[in-house]
Symmetry: D3
Subunit: 129 residues, 6 copies
């Protein structure tokens, strides 16, 4: 699929690119959005959704990026690992935090498989009253 640069983009695509750059306080747009731009409807909806979900709230934005990396590793999405690791670094993630994150993701994938393999029943204490 082609990547659509700003100068070749439709007005509704440029509007999304402008909002991405303003929200992130940067002067460039990463390839994910340039690829989605062949479908301006999906581009807009996805950007609006990501902006809403990743904003500061009860969880801080760095924690949300760490969670994004964890899901991306589990799904084996190389692009997403690269882009969200970079975003997490921008938001202050240290290398010590990164390697601890990946250790947790590795361990979780192991114990997920073991719990599934052994067919472990959910403890009553884990069910909410």
């Amino acid at each position: 699929m082609p990547l659509i640069e700003y100068e070749d983009a439709l007005p509704e695509v440029r509007a999304v690119y402008d909002d991405i750059m303003e929200t992130r306080q940067t002067d460039w747009v990463n390839n994910f959005w340039k690829a989605l731009a062949v479908d301006p409807v999906t581009l807009r909806r996805t950007w609006e959704s990501v902006k809403e979900v990743m904003a500061a709230g009860a969880l801080d934005p760095l924690v949300k990026e760490l969670v994004y990396v964890a899901v991306s590793v589990t799904n084996g999405c190389e692009y997403c690992i690269a882009s969200h690791t970079a975003s997490a670094r921008t938001k202050g993630m240290s290398e010590e935090q990164l390697v601890e994150l990946l250790a947790v993701v590795g361990m979780a994938n192991e114990t997920n498989a073991l719990a599934t393999a052994y067919g472990v029943p959910v403890d009553d204490a884990f069910r909410r009253s």
Copy 2:
């Protein structure tokens, strides 16, 4: 697979159960470990590994639990979602944090699929020098 209770457990299994309860400051052991107890070698190795990985470090233990939930949802492991959501609550997770976490996990699964579908190439800016 059977669940092995403390009173029926081998000494090496009891030793792991004791360490779980002491580390967590609780008086019970959840079913995951009682299932693994049919294989004392895997029980011990898995517990020692989880204890090391989930301890406070550059990331705080609550963040690690949130990451664990994120991986477990992505893998569809019902037991793991239940147990690590409960652990996260014990470590202070609010309901607002939980729903934000799940929103991020949902979104990440969507954009992972889109990035894969569109075959997005990794930006040079995301590759480290």
Copy 3:
């Protein structure tokens, strides 16, 4: 693994290649089959199965290709995305159809994760009498 070209292939492999080209009305065989050709038994069984499954029936062949792309994206199989997207185009898929397909696949991956995360019970109305 090597790719086995027609001129280097065993007679039973050539017979499958010939049937692929005749069924598809083309003069070439794509790499998937050339890779499987190291195992003529699997090559034959897989081709016969794919031919049976993908033939016109209650669903038309283009819809079946769209479904194939959806599964391939969800599994992250780059080769399969490329080959079945190409097949779908050959069978008439427009670019508008492709981007709508990928939007559905993205959305389905998100709501699958949310339904799993929230542990939603199946509605009685969805269970068939």
Copy 4:
């Protein structure tokens, strides 16, 4: 997680429920939305997104439901299989179409694994000029 019924719902949740029932021309809301209602922001965003993605366009709504089922099977989401199979039936899917769909999904999961296992390189003919 609790299921929130209409009579117990906040006004912004009721507004979404009303739009779901009007859009679908039904008098009930399925459990997925009642579970998401604990997070009205995610409920609204997810419903608006699903409504936009699943509307008639270049692909007809039944084909989109078939694709949804295919992704849900591949991810192993029991709730999603049940709900989107029911939706597909409502939109006219026959039992013959359902079993053909599932046969394609099964086959795609097999050949995805084989293509990955054999490390098949993408054919030049599948790369677009």
Copy 5:
């Protein structure tokens, strides 16, 4: 989906059931086949394929069952874990072998995630000349 019993089955379905029972030297058919029987074409093709793939060859049938369990755990298919664990026991798997198998599957899921997370490049020594 309904389960189709022998006495209610079409002749072509009964023929498959008979071959399953004769091949396995048993007097019953497990639910997987009774579910697939709503689609006699898929029933026949799937059974013929499974019979061919699982027969003794360069790998012995027990090793093939262990591999089947490993894939089923990784995919989180509860039915498949149960049925192939039972088949493996029938073919002589001991409890010691089962727990070692599951320990390998757990470990493989962890190191798969770590290799993906770290983006490890394939060693030249692993590429075949």
Copy 6:
């Protein structure tokens, strides 16, 4: 992430590399470990765990490597497929065994999807008394 060579490694990393080479009776270390070496704690724990799990026991080491390949294919981990296929060859796997293994993995992925799609209930005979 960087790959850390022996000459640039910390003493605790060198100790792991030395144990890898001695255990495997080789004079080199593959990239997986050189990548993990940025996190000496995870390197050590992962190596000790892999060494324990993959040692000869009730299952022989070749069977364990076959299982590792099966999981790696199912997860789509290219690095892991390459490294564990190479290890299996070192331990005596023939090409006939490899192609049979991959045929089983392919078939298992198909029937896993079918069992999930059809929602097959576990047979009473598969539940242990």
